[in-house]
């Protein structure tokens, strides 16, 4: 999926003239950078998404190619935080769940590519969720990243064995999280 756009590409996506894009770029309303040593402008995906949102340009043309992520945590504020982080990035289509049970239902319906799974859920241990999902042949290819505030070293190893791809602690570094996600989903 494209991470970087030229002004022409951006113009096409936004259905405006290239001049408009250039002007916005120069005025600072569209963030980006110049290719060093040249006059070419480059617009990172994130900025383009932000710009489109700000100007209420429908996002369908950039939407396609989003990766589906299911966020599972019983703490509403954590869920909101993760949503904001991933939404800002722009490459993801998001759904949420706040219990093991809901996670199961959502996985069925939403068919995510990745689940961000909190280890401590009210109804069931994250471990179990992991195993259950992996066992189901339908969901074989779903990747799972465990996020948790309370995991000890040994348990991490155990989790990785039950099928989680990676683990990240709370509190987390946003960039680290995104990196892990992109790595696991093999995004560029």
């Amino acid at each position: 999926m494209k991470d970087l756009f030229t002004t022409g590409e951006a113009a096409e996506i936004c259905r405006v003239s290239q001049q408009t894009i250039i002007r916005c770029f120069d005025a600072g309303r569209l963030e980006g950078f110049r290719v060093p040593g040249s006059r070419f402008r480059r617009i990172p995906r994130q900025s383009l998404v932000k710009f489109m949102k700000e100007n209420k340009i429908p996002l369908d043309s950039i939407e396609s190619g989003k990766r589906k992520v299911l966020i599972v945590d019983d703490d509403a504020e954590i869920v909101e935080l993760l949503m904001d982080v991933l939404d800002k990035d722009g490459r993801f289509e998001l759904k949420t769940a706040s219990s093991g049970y809901e996670a199961g239902m959502a996985t069925e319906r939403f068919q995510p590519e990745l689940i961000l799974l909190d280890y401590m859920l009210p109804d069931v241990n994250g471990n179990i969720v992991c195993q259950t999902i992996k066992k189901n042949p339908q969901f074989e290819n779903i990747k799972i990243i465990i996020i948790s505030g309370v995991v000890k070293q040994e348990e991490i190893a155990q989790l990785l064995k039950s099928g989680a791809e990676d683990f990240i602690r709370k509190p987390f570094d946003i960039n680290e999280l995104i990196n892990k996600i992109t790595a696991v989903l093999q995004m560029k």
Partner: protein, 757 residues
Amino acid sequence: MHEKLPNATFAARQVELAVNNLDSLSTLDCVASQYLPRIIQSHFQPSVLTDIIESDPALAVQFLSLISRRGISIPDGRFSLANLLDKLTVNELRNTILSIKVTPTSDRNNGEGEYKNKKGLFIHSLAVACCAKDIAELAIPQMDSQLAYCAGLLHDIGKLAIEETMPKSFTLITEQAESSKQCSRAVEQEHLNIDHTVIGKRLAQKWQMPNLIVLAIWLHHNQTVTICKDMPEARIAAVVQLADSLARQSDIGLSGSYDIPKPAQPIADILNISSEQLQLIHHNLKAAVERKIKLLGLNLPKPQTEYSKAIQTVAAQFANRDAELSDENRLLQSASSHLDFIKDFILNVSPNNSAINIAENLATQWQKFYQTGKVCLYLAPSVSSQILEVVVVENLSQRETFYVNAPVDTSAIPKVLMNQFMILNAHEYIDWLFEQLNIDFDINRTKLVPLLSGSKTIGIIAFELNYPSDLKLFEEKFKISASIAGSIIGMALEQRKEQHFAEHFAELFSVTPEAVQTLPEETQSIPESKEISSVDSLDALAEMAAGAAHELNNPLAVISGRAQLLAEDEGDKEKKQILEQIKKNANEASEIIEDLMSFAEPPQPKPTPTRIPQMIEEAIQLAGRKTDIEKIDIQVEVDDDTETVLIDSAQIVSAIANIISNAVESYKTDIEPIKISAENEETADSVKLTITDSGCGMDAVTLKKAIQPFFSAKEAGRKRGMGLAYAARLIQINKGSLSITSHPDEGTTVNIYLPSK
């Protein structure tokens, strides 16, 4: 043919006297019968009488006089009797009008002669008044028509005065004037040496009539046309003269003059009135006068009867009202005296008065204000007491206090009065008291009432009521007085109770100061070694730490995450730094929890045989990294035959490293070498490892706390005093033990025992 009146001078003097003595003119009874019914209406305004007052010369004069005496100013140009009357109070008006003399007449024709004269004069005056008003309205320049009306009404008060004081002479004069076709003035002069215009003027001045009216009265028979040329104010006289002419031409009423009236035209010219207008006025005059006559009731058939009836009604009404006011007055008086009672009572109460003092006061006041006979009062006894204190007031100078026995079979306060107010017959309830008092209280008259404090009865007051009929009247007041007094006495009682309580309390505390325990003294000697904390408390800590970690990490994640998101969008460098600081600190907080968790539940040790020297070497290196010192000055002495120990090497290395860094940090200024030695401990199947430093050491208190997590004796920058605690913990789970000895300024020695098998 006319009789000559006896001695003209004598008559003149008589007239003068009479005139001087005349206070007011009198009115007719028929007129009175008209105005009397009006004044007994409730809430009447003075102005409802305006129409009658302004139609009756006697009334008009009286009221104008009153108005002038009251100092009420008459506005120039807009004379209005109604307005002026309204400036009087209702009472003034009523009193004035009731004091007006009424000429009695009989219904028979006997007094008809005199009656006729007065009536005639009234009618004539009315005619002139109406006429004058109309003329004034048409005159150019315009004149105050109301004023002209009044002037017209009053122009012949001189004649009225003569008629009143010397009715017989008046009749004679009039008859003479009639028979000789003269103006009454001439006849008057002849007989009295004075004429009605002068009399009128004198009276008008005496009664403080407005100036213009005075002029009109005086000059209405003179050469007004000529006068007007010099004195414009005399125009009113001209108006009145003209009106007089017209009235006489219409033959309305008794004018008393029988000469040919003066020609109207010259006067009319002065006033700029055309003859057609005059004709019109002339034409309307009779009708206007008729209306007024009707209003005054001048044609009533039986004026005397009417008048009597009216007087009776008025008298009856006023009598009623008087009775009502009297009642009201009595009530108010008694109410105010009631307030006086309360005022007096309260003024006599001072904060330090005891309840019984207040009660005494109350009894006295009660008698005084309610004018009762003997009074006795007692307060509810306290539970245990058998004795009642009773205050008896026989009369104002005799007041005594008695002590009686409380009744055995009943309660001192009648049950029915415990919480409510009622007036009861005393002897039915407190006979036991009267018996003991030996004072005669009249059985039939003595009542008792409770003294209520809030809703509780705290005392009883009994008294001989002198006016039994007033019971209902006084009930409300008794209740109020009793309640107020009761409340005050109640408060005094409470105060007393509290004082007793306080005294009792104080007594308790004045006993044996030695009884108070002293705390045991701080033991000076501290054991040289400290045991490591037991396993149990650490397990509890572990569980708590885990719970805390989970709980805390979520909010910390939110803090950290949000700060990061904000930092990403923040352009301001400073703010961005601050946001990063937030993130860093959130992470740091998280690490503290992690430390705690690790401490509480460290990972299971995996014991492997480990060689001491190697272990020590690794520990030194680790310590170096921890303390940021490349080369720590350590002297290592390991016995050659020391065995391997069976421990989780990573953990123990970490533990030793912690101890070493502590040792390093204990050197404030000069750093001396740290000594590490190891040897076998035969008896315990373990190896003893000793780490010694000669740093600042620890005092007893610090030592005690040394291995507590988070304790740090470092001055600034806490840096998470976990090191030693952690070390101790790690050693413990590896089945080892640790002991510390320390002396301030001398250094610390740490002994570690590790299992060798």
